[in-house]
Structures are given as structure tokens and as C-alpha cells.
Symmetry: D2
Subunit: 238 residues, 4 copies
């Protein structure tokens, strides 16, 4: 059984018209609902409304894969929560930032770069499968379309990914590395670009399949912390 | 002084209407002409018409960077020439296959994969710079357009590149890793997708600048052959 | 059920004193014997004595992961068998070359480099785990020792690996990238350095565990061939 | 002209017997002295004693490549200095952390991992060249020895490097990725393991040559900052 936790800042869906209409109980609740049918997953959700963002030591101890959706509230995640999640990823927890999660503090800390990119609202996107035999692409066709998505454009300020799984093509004229993997110490990371709050991307069958695939790919049953063999000051190592 | 050799199969330009009109003396001669102004380059050209494709041991000894344009005549390059070029790349000669050179025997041998891809004639392409600080991208804007190019589409059956420098966007709906680097032993390789024989891509200033940049990037003054310390059978090692 | 095929050239064990004593029925039979206890594996063996090295289309169709041990008989594997195995790896068959298999025609074709290295007989080796959370390292301690192994030394003429899982340390003074992974199209490849015919490395518990782990890691249930959409000449694509 | 700045915490050499004897004016002054003969380099030094560690905006503006030596004083480098150096590396300044600089705040921030490792004082080290054609290895033999160095051992908690240039072998039984490169946005990074304060490694000709080579390799004449096109909060982007 893979224990999945979904973090969602849960801000837009409370106030915005479209986000509220598409995800009335929040993006987290929606993702949880389409994961319900998967027999090998148990899914738990947390938001900014929970103390410590719901990401206590105990919750992280019991999480195998963490999904992350955030946007306007990145700065509301306290630094000690970021530190805790970062360490847990390095120990072997899978981490899947979605869409505007590219700018989350945790992802930026793991990458060591700004993770900046370009953007424009509302475009038609076509997702191309670059690595058709990869487990994250299992069951995904050569390409599929999202009638509405937010354009994310290059340069995307990330380290060279281990694998580029998907490329995004936008009708307005841009191309983007839309699905990329990284390994950091014992943790596996998959960033996926679709998932703007005002568009129904998380209702799309292929997007849902990719998220399910990515959870299983990111799951690492081995937990391991590379030690720091001298007495560490708070600034050093684990 | 960097000694550049351009191999061009020189078939289309002899017979086809458009290729002949655009490159009346051959793609090789055209590339040579726009490299002429570069003070640090000496440029030599060879074609399928030359004995051993012009790629004798002596020519390769005196080549620092080899450009390669081929398409319908890949199978006309003898295997012993392929072997010779492959070894010279591993020793430190830069190698820059252009456009349909993705299916050249040398590139496929260096990659160890099929280098297959999808294609469609005549589309509008926009080239995006993914790695704006890379020497190959020096002086290249965020993007530029080629009114006519052959669409090359994913999946592109190459090993994960060391660096993705450019992405191609096609008006017809595809995205492609259009400029990618690889290191193989002591040799540096840059594959660049534009350059169909029927379109004026090699007349484009940005394409010309990318080729000039790539030559300087691929140039490795150090020559080194990793030895095979047991008496090699012809099948083994160098 | 993962269908494993072990190819062994089966030459040394027929004639040499030590190899014969350690592996009286051949290295292939020995590896098969320690895989027998694994409930999720079925194991088949082939050697140079079989027609077409036992690696017919039908056998490869029914193989998920291929192990390869060869040394003095690399040149006895016909090129059409090499071609067939190479294509099947690209389609998704796992490939695990052991020890002197670094110079097998299949591995060299997949790498696109010479795969040369340095060597010296009979040294004490210590294997260090560089990537302790990797599935191939599951259950392997921080390091373990092989009282006798053949020293393999750098430079090892391979492309930069996707992952370095193990480093080898030799009492005589060398260090080596002893366990490395590569992805080539849909196939996963793990090269592992220990396994000289005159030493009991394949009797070592840790070596056996690494081979079992690697088989499961290399297994890819998805089969995929990236097509070549124009009518291929025999020289082109698949 | 490449403008080099050397940061040294300058603590051990003031108090410790051996460090003081080997580097009486500080490791920074010693490195500066052996770089003096290089016509293409201008070298400036800063230490913890300088306001803001000497790494003001103005100094960084005028630095092309930054060398970093630190150990017991990592926590004395203020976070705003770390932030400033980190941004400058991403914009294109080369960064060369030496020895215990693996645990500097800047390197850890760039890597996104703990950069933990194992260690033991005083061992004999042999450095092997893994990538003999790489510019950083120019003029370096197949291997060289340091009679005394601090053992650094695997696992080394870094992301998979772009290139492994050197492996370290220790007489006591360990192997280590002793020279590794990374690219982060526009900045080139080379980590090199030798250089303990109590041993004369920086007096070794090969170590000096490697540092000179690395400076020229890390120098990137192109400066580029990938922008953050929305109005950034202090927590976001550049």
C-alpha cells in the first residue's frame, strides 16, 4: 500500500469563480477522488488551513509520496515545514509538484535554482510523449490535448533533468519541458506542468493517468538517510 | 586555428529543383561560404563523389570538427569510413550532424540507438533557446522563426542528451528537442535539426551563428585515445 | 513472472583449471542455480554451443531480462545475433552485462564507445555503495569485499552513466565505476564489474543479491518500438 | 582576462600548528601566489574578516570565477551573502568549492542536497583521471599521489554530477568521486576533494594545475539571468 499525501494551498478554489466551479471542494479533494479507485493507494489531504500546513513529522513519517499544489501562497508555507519536507524527500519520499508548484519553496530548495519560467494565461496545449516506454507514460498516447491550459515557456530554470518524459506544445507558439524527473539522494521527483486552477486539466483522463503512474514511479520502499559523521551544527547536514 | 571539414552527400542539389536553386554549388559549399569570414576557422569540404567520401585517415588527422549533411545516401557511406570517423570522434574530433544527419551511420553508431523520429514536410518552425547561457546559444534571441522547415517530431530515439540547448515548435502541432549535446569519450557532439535541402535554413543568420558557435564549442584541443591494454582482436577496442 | 535468459560463452569453464573447479557446469548454470529460489523469476540459459547462440527471435521474444557473460569468444557471436539482441534491448528488454561483458559486441553497440578499460589479474576488491537507496543496492551494506577479483581500472570508455551505483576499490591502488546504469530507448542496462571466471565472485551473497536486484530493476513490462515512419532501407532505423 | 576571487574562511591557519606552518599567510594567499604566473588571470582574495565576507555586490559583479575554502566557519557566512553568491553563480559566475567546501552553504544551496559524506584524517590518496580529454584534466597524468590527505568517502550526497572527472583512491580502503562538475542555470561548478588544511596538497603541482584548468573551464563570458516574469514577492525567483 502506497501512502499518498496531497498538499494543496486551497486558496483560489475558495474565492475565484472558475476554480471554485471546477474544484468546489478544492484541487486536493478532487485529486483524492480520482485516486480512490486505485487499490494500492491510500490518500490523505492537507492544506494551508491545517496547523503546520498539516505536514507534521508524524504525517511525513507516514507518507510515501507527496503531491504539491501551490501558487499564490508559496510564501505562507513556513520555512521549518519546508526544511522538514525537504529532508523527508532526501530520505526517500516521492515528491510530485504540479503546475505552479514549480515555484514552491520545497521544489526550489531541491533543485538549487530559481525554477523561473515564462507564462501566459489560456492557451491550447498538446502534450507529447518523449519517452514512450517510461512507467510514467504507460497508457498515454503519442500526444493528447488540453483545450485550455496556462502556457509555461522556456527557459525553465531547472538543472538538466534525469529524464524528459513529456514536451508541451502551445498553440500560441511555445514549447516546454512539461514532464521531467530528478533523483535527489534517495527521493524521486516528477514535475508536471498542466494543472492551472481555472481549467479542467485534473478532469482529463490522461492527466489523471499520468499522476497515478507518477505516484507508483516515485514510490521508494527503501528509506535511507546519508549521515553526517561529525557532530553537526544546526547549519550542517542532517 | 580550428580545422573544419564539411561532409555533404551532395545528391539533392544536383537534381532537385529547390535544393539546386537554394544551394547551386551544394550545401557544403554554401556552409563553407558563410564560414569564410571567421578568422579562426579553416574550412575544407568533401562529398560522396570523393574517393572514400574524402574522409581518408589523412583528412581526419587534420580535422578538428566535422560537420555532416546526409539524407538519401546514408547507405552509400562505406562501413570502413564510418568506423574511421567514429574512432576519430572518440579521440576528440568534434562532430556536428545537421538535420537528416540524425540517421547517418556515424551518428547512429555514436548514439547506440536507432535515432528514429517522426517527420512531415514543410511547416513553420520556431526555435526556442532553452539554455540561454550556453556557448552554442551565444547571440541567439529567446526564439527565432524559420518560415519553412521539415517537421521533426518526438519521440526522438536518442540517449538522454547531456544538454538540451534548443526546442523546436512547429505550427502544425509538434515539439522537438532541436539542439542537443553529447560527450562520447573525448569527442563532443552537437545535433541540430534545421537544415532541410528544399528550404533556405542555411541562409538564416541565426542558424549560421549557431553553426559557428557549435564549431567552437565542439573543438577540443586535447587528443586522447583510451587504450585497450590487451592485444586486441579486430573485433575489440581500438 | 520475469523471464530471464542467461547467455554465457561457456569456454573457460570447459578447459581452465580454476574456472572449471568453481563453475563445473558453467557460469550460466551457476547463476541459474542461485536464481532458482526466486519465485518471480523463470530462468533459461544459452551458450555459444547453441545454434545462433541460442538467441533466436523466439527466445528473445520470450525474454524480459538478458544477462551476458563473455570474454575470449566475443568475436564468435555473429553480427546478426548482435543486431537482434540490440534491437530487442531498445524495445524494452533489460540487459545486464557482467564483468568482461563490457567488451561484448552488444554492450559496445549500445554504448557507442569502445568500452575500453585497464586490467590486472588477482587483486582484493572492496565494493562501495554510492547510491544506497537505489533498488539495485537494496540489502547491500556500505561496502563488502571480494578477496580475489580482476582489477578493472579507469578510464572506462563509456558514456556518462545515468547513475553510478557502486565504486570498486582495489588493494593494488585503483578505483573503478563498478556498477553503472544506462537507459537506451526503452531498455534498461546495468553493467557490473565483478565476475572473473577464476574467482568465486558469483558465490558471494552480495554479488548474488545485486544480480537479483538488477534483474527486477531492469524488467520493463512495457514494450515499445519507436518507429521509422519512412520506408526504411536495410541500413536505416528498425 | 579572467577575474578570480578566492574566499577563504582563514581560521585554521591563524591557530593550528600544521595549517599555520604550511599556509602561513592563509590558504587564500597561497593559492593566489601560485596563480600569479598565469597571464590571463587576475586574482583577488577575501576572508571572514572582511565586512560581508568581502563578497559585496560590487566584488561579485567583478568576479568571473569564485574559489571557496571553508570548514569550521561555514555557519559564520551570513545568509544574505549566501543568497547573493548563489544568485551570481546562477547568472554565470564559475564556482569552485575546494575540499571541506562541500559543506559550505553556497554549495549545499546549489546542489539541493545535504552534500554529506564520510571522512577520516590522514590517509594516502591516489587521484585517478576518469575523463582524460576533459579540459580540467589537461596535463594531468593517469594518476598522481598525495602522501597525506583527509579521506572523504561515499556515499557523497550530491545530485548525479554532469561529469565525473577524477576518482580518489585511499590506502585505507575507500573510493570517492573526487572531482565532479555541475551546471546550474548559467553557472559552471567544479567540486574538488583534496585540500585539507593540515596537508600540503595545495603545494602539489598537479593540484595546482587542476585548479588552473578548472578556473578556465568555469569561466563563462556570457552573463544571463532567467527572469521571473511576474512581480516577484521576496520569496519568489530573482
Amino acid at each position: 500500500m502506497i501512502r499518498v499525501t496531497i498538499f494543496n494551498e486551497f486558496l483560489h478554489e475558495k474565492y475565484d469563480g472558475e476554480a471554485k466551479r471546477l474544484y468546489p471542494e478544492g484541487i486536493h479533494a478532487h485529486i483524492q477522488s480520482f485516486l480512490k479507485s486505485e487499490q494500492d493507494l491510500t490518500v490523505y489531504t492537507v492544506t494551508l488551513d491545517d496547523p503546520e500546513c498539516g505536514l507534521t513529522e508524524e504525517v511525513l513519517e507516514n507518507t510515501d509520496v507527496l503531491l504539491w499544489w501551490g501558487h499564490m501562497g508559496h510564501h505562507l508555507v513556513p520555512d521549518e515545514v519546508v526544511e522538514r519536507v525537504w529532508r523527508r524527500v532526501l530520505d526517500g519520499m516521492g515528491f510530485i509538484p504540479l503546475h505552479s508548484g514549480h515555484h514552491s519553496k520545497v521544489f526550489r530548495r531541491l533543485m538549487g535554482t530559481t525554477c523561473n519560467l515564462h507564462w501566459r494565461e489560456n492557451d491550447r496545449e498538446r502534450i507529447w510523449t518523449v519517452s514512450p516506454g517510461h512507467p510514467i507514460a504507460a497508457g498515454i498516447p503519442a500526444y493528447f490535448e488540453l483545450e485550455h491550459e496556462e502556457m509555461y515557456g522556456e527557459p525553465f530554470a531547472i538543472p538538466e533533468p534525469d529524464e524528459v518524459i513529456f514536451l508541451g506544445w502551445f498553440a500560441g507558439g511555445e514549447a516546454f519541458r512539461a514532464g521531467v524527473t530528478f533523483r535527489r539522494e534517495n527521493g524521486r521527483i516528477f514535475y508536471f506542468q498542466p494543472g492551472h486552477e481555472d481549467y479542467p486539466s485534473f478532469h482529463n483522463d490522461h492527466v489523471q493517468r499520468i499522476i497515478k503512474n507518477a505516484i507508483r514511479w516515485a514510490y521508494n520502499p527503501v528509506r535511507y538517510r546519508i549521515p553526517c559523521p561529525w557532530a553537526p551544527s544546526p547549519e550542517q547536514g542532517h
